[in-house]
């Protein structure tokens, strides 16, 4: 692995979370907990040299495809795409407001977005279809699907998982944001997914179980993709914390889609940006 500036990735993740906070607080809508839990995963993919992409040419045909199946976390992806130049960062404060390009969920009008998502349980199927097409075309790009663990209760997820293994879609990587919450409940109280790794392995996937907030583990798990020889699709279970980055939100069901205001907002800003407020 080439030299990685982990401190820079941490700073970037903090900046992304700060943008998420401001977008959601300003719009008074959005799913903050899930956006925070998957931020480090997206930062690793985009800033850790994993994804092949070109913000000046969003439809470059050899780009890797990232599908944010958990579309409710779109704010995290919007902040990153704006930072990378896919669109003007001035768009971010317009999130969910009249005339904005940025709605509550990703859609393909937004440069850098590969699939309209938000209706849960469909991203892996879409990703498997794209990966199948890439294989048939002999194309070298990879397909990444970032899915929530809550949506892994949908039958359609497992139908696509079976399909991907059967068709040896080794160019498909599923990342499960394993924050152990689903809407306003805990996954293991509602419908346990564990042992998730064993289940995915039994379905014919290679599985890596990592800490989803460790850039070292994230980059290690993605690092060998270009040289990987297995015919199996790859699943990365990224164990995360919903609301990660703001102390009072971490692991709390309330922050699935609550909106911080007043003191809560001030504390969150301070935790994500020690220099706040600036003069």
């Amino acid at each position: 692995m080439k030299e990685i500036d982990f401190e820079n990735l941490k700073k970037k993740a903090k900046w992304v979370r700060r943008q998420i906070l401001e977008m959601i607080a300003s719009a008074k809508k959005g799913h903050i907990g899930g956006a925070f839990s998957c931020t480090d995963i997206l930062v690793a993919l985009y800033y850790g040299g994993i994804l092949k992409h070109d913000s000046r040419n969003p439809l470059w045909n050899q780009r890797d495809r990232l599908i944010l199946s958990k579309g409710h976390s779109g704010t995290a992806l919007f902040a990153i795409l704006a930072d990378l130049g896919y669109f003007d960062a001035k768009e971010l404060p317009t999130y969910c407001k009249n005339s904005s390009m940025l709605g509550g969920h990703p859609d393909r009008r937004i440069p850098g977005i590969e699939a309209d998502t938000g209706s849960l349980g469909h991203g892996i199927g879409i990703g498997a279809g794209i990966a199948l097409g890439a294989k048939m075309d002999g194309a070298g790009y990879r397909v990444f699907v970032l899915a929530g663990d809550g949506e892994c209760s949908e039958g359609s997820v497992w139908e696509a998982i079976v399909f991907a293994a059967h068709h040896c879609l080794s160019n498909l990587t599923l990342i499960v944001d394993r924050n152990r919450q689903c809407v306003l409940d805990f996954t293991e109280d509602c419908a346990p997914l564990d042992p998730l790794a064993n289940k995915l392995e039994a379905f014919g996937w290679e599985v890596r179980d990592i800490v989803g907030h460790s850039f070292k583990e994230l980059l290690m798990s993605f690092g060998d993709l270009p040289t990987r020889t297995s015919s199996k699709p790859l699943a990365i279970i990224a164990n995360t914390v919903k609301g990660k980055g703001v102390s009072f939100m971490e692991g709390k069901l309330k922050w699935h889609h609550s909106i911080p205001t007043g003191d809560e907002l001030a504390i969150a800003r301070k935790e994500l940006d020690p220099d706040w407020p600036r003069d």
């Binding site: 009249n98 349980g121 809550g150 306003l184 509602c190 069901l253």
Partner: protein, 369 residues
């Protein structure tokens, strides 16, 4: 659909009082769990701290988490589980926070739940209530605000209701849960949840029968057949037109979408000679088309003027408020339709109410209605 009124303690409690749509739903759920130990409520959000918009709040603590429980994002499996539970003596109430989410379980609902009784010689009954909520306020968009009553009502074996008021909930739900043997889909409207209603005084001659249509206003000039929140809009339009134009509207709240009171509709149209149908969904192949079919087949000479139908525009629901206000019918479009039909003129000269957004009105309006 039925001539029998069941013993309804809920209506007796609320008779002559007021209740919000949300309170009525909560008490209907509480009553169901209290009266029948084999009732279970299952769905996303039913046992969380918000209790499915307050309609199941704290019921998991009161009756136990084995009777009120959260389900995962696995709608089709949950519908199948409800079917299995119903076949084996439980009474499942399966909830969907949005009608749209129920599309994930159409196979279970349409191919199994609706047909089980018929496919197996009537040996099996599938009594259950499936509650679905129409999302409505600006920004709900294409996958959170659909009004799919026609999808379900199209299928024999399913009974579909759309309560427009607290009365309908307090009348229908206890009957459905405690006395009805088939699967029922109830489509509730999110904008109505905070509206307060006067509950009709219950008497031996109470006009509201369960699973029936309701004549909610008598009039002589025109019949408005309406569903869900459009029945309330029709009442507002009728009050406006009576006061400002001397037009008297007769209003039928269809309520039971799958089995409307055809005789009530025909009698009204025979009397007024004019018909407007106002639905919360798309007009094509929907409730509007079905009511037109009834009139065309049963009473084709009764109309003195062409029918006008009102529903949502034939597109997916936009998220921008300005576009959404064009998407939905409102008091102004309904009033204009009545004025055009009664006068027979597009330029009818009747001043229309200056109101373009139903969502704005109902978010502020708390009742009583």
């Amino acid at each position: 659909m039925t001539n029998s009124t069941n013993e309804n303690s809920l209506m007796k409690i609320f008779s002559g009082n007021t209740a919000t749509y949300r309170e009525s739903l909560f008490h209907a759920m509480d009553d169901a769990l209290s009266r029948n130990p084999r009732v279970v409520i299952m769905g996303q959000g039913v046992a969380d701290h918000k209790g499915l918009f307050g309609t199941t709040l704290d019921l998991a603590n009161k009756y136990g988490s084995d009777r009120v429980f959260e389900t995962p994002l696995a709608e089709e499996a949950m519908a199948g589980i409800a079917l299995g539970a119903a076949l084996n003596g439980l009474y499942p109430i399966n909830t969907h926070m949005r009608v749209d989410f129920a599309l994930c379980c159409m196979n279970q609902i349409v191919n199994l739940i609706a047909k089980y009784k018929y496919m197996f010689g009537g040996r099996f009954e599938c009594p259950m209530l499936i509650r679905m909520v129409i999302g409505r306020s600006w920004g709900q968009g294409s996958q959170h605000s659909q009004s799919l009553q026609s999808f379900f009502a199209h299928v024999p074996g399913l009974t579909v209701v759309m309560p427009s008021c607290a009365d309908s909930i307090l009348t229908d739900y206890p009957y459905i849960i405690h006395s009805y043997s088939g699967p029922v889909i109830s489509i509730e409207h999110r904008l109505l949840y905070d509206v307060k209603f006067n509950i009709e005084q219950t008497t031996e001659h109470s006009s509201n029968k369960p699973l029936s249509s309701h004549l909610v206003r008598k009039g002589t000039d025109i019949t408005i057949v309406a569903t869900s929140i459009m029945a309330l809009e029709a009442l507002r339009a009728a009050q406006y037109l009576s006061k400002n134009a001397g037009i008297e509207c007769e209003i039928i709240d269809l309520n039971c979408i799958s089995h409307p009171d055809k005789e009530m509709v025909m009698n009204s149209v025979n009397k007024t000679g004019r018909l407007i149908i106002a639905d919360t969904g798309w007009q094509a192949y929907g409730v509007c088309a079905e009511i037109c079919r009834i009139i065309c087949e049963k009473s084709p000479t009764s109309l003195k003027a062409p029918v006008i139908t009102l529903g949502t525009q034939p597109t997916t629901c936009p998220t921008a408020k300005t576009l959404e206000d064009y998407f939905y019918p409102n008091l102004q479009t309904l009033t204009d339709a009545v004025a055009r039909t009664v006068t027979g003129k597009a330029s009818h000269g009747i001043l229309l109410p200056d109101e373009h957004s139903m969502a704005d009105v109902y978010k502020k309006f708390k009742g009583p209605f």
